[in-house]
Symmetry: C4
Subunit: 124 residues, 4 copies
């Protein structure tokens, strides 16, 4: 699969609520940066977190492939220090290959789940 | 209608919850890639999933048209294999005509509905 | 204020739920395209839907201005026909001046409100 | 850290609900523009609202840094006048250095929290 993306990305907004209504890891308030390295799909597909390549033909000549993904959960970062909760932060990513970055937050401070997501800002 | 868009698109984030609070198809937890092929509007409009073209004049000289849409629901993909639930994935689209791709998730794991959406990352 | 934006925009995703848990117009399930015409701010500011211009100096030399806005609610479109509910659609905007378009949905099918929003795809 | 971003940004959508289900500042209905000035990280890191720089090596050669952030809460603006509630508005930012802008709303009109967020539209 050919590379797609840019090498430098920024997420201006970051905020991890300290409270959660659930103890299930998937439902604890968290933020992630999903980082797609499309060119490395054949290699990354061997890792547990990735999926078999899928190609789908659609009427318009569209092809679809599942890509290789690094799911970076900000809650889990420990170096050089954990990300403080209830505190605004932002992040910048630099890669030596083209990548695509998407930012997502799950907020479960109350008994429901709220989501936000956006493609980050990328630059060559 | 003239073409608008790019030929290669990537969605870094993907995650379909296995749980849903509803059995109505519209409210089952799902992810979609909405794929607009503006140039094919006159043809696609004949399909059930599309709409008559609308043109609206606004004070600033703005014209508005409803476009032709392929609504790709990741839950429904079966080739070469279904998308596993509760698993991170990402996707890359390649088209032989310019398209525009938007990513959306509906999460109904609990008794409410949560939504996220973003324009995907596009490249020529 | 100088112009900012592009002249052609596309929103791939569109879907207005037919159900709402509220009768207040602001809380009825709806979709909007918010269309900013920054260059027309001085003129548009005379309309009821816009705001006085604000300029704010921040430490980094940042200036902030409230802009001129056309809030296009898809639910209200009647020409050439209303937008069907519970049906996928997409939209393309063409303007004779640079604009910026942002897509938003409020979904109140259940007793809570869900939101999604994204900057649309723009092209010169 | 090298600069990343653009000098002019626009957020087409803006709307602050006048109602909130909570009195906690973090949960009052609000909108923010998160403004990242990556180049100023070393300076901005001295301010209370920013974080120590973090660099993380990932398998793909990815480096991650927490950046310098200005969290502009539209609810708090007072010059030249407060932003009216329940009213559509939009905003334009001009900076003398490259920045990245992300728009976020928290809506707590009902007893749950709804979120939306998107990278704004940027231009050189």
């Amino acid at each position: 699969m050919d590379a797609i993306g840019r090498k430098r990305w920024a997420i201006a907004e970051g905020h991890i609520p300290s409270q959660s209504s659930f103890t299930d890891r998937a439902l604890i308030s968290h933020e992630t940066a999903c980082i797609l390295n499309a060119a490395a799909a054949s290699r990354t597909l061997r890792s547990p977190s990735s999926l078999p390549t899928a190609i789908r033909s659609a009427p318009t000549g569209l092809r679809y492939r599942r890509g290789a993904l690094l799911h970076l959960r900000f809650n889990d970062l420990t170096e050089p220090s954990p990300v403080p909760r209830d505190t605004d932060f932002s992040s910048v990513f630099e890669s030596d290959v083209p990548i695509v970055v998407q930012h997502t937050r799950l907020d479960s401070r109350h008994a429901e789940v709220s989501l936000l997501s956006t493609t980050a800002y990328g630059e060559s």
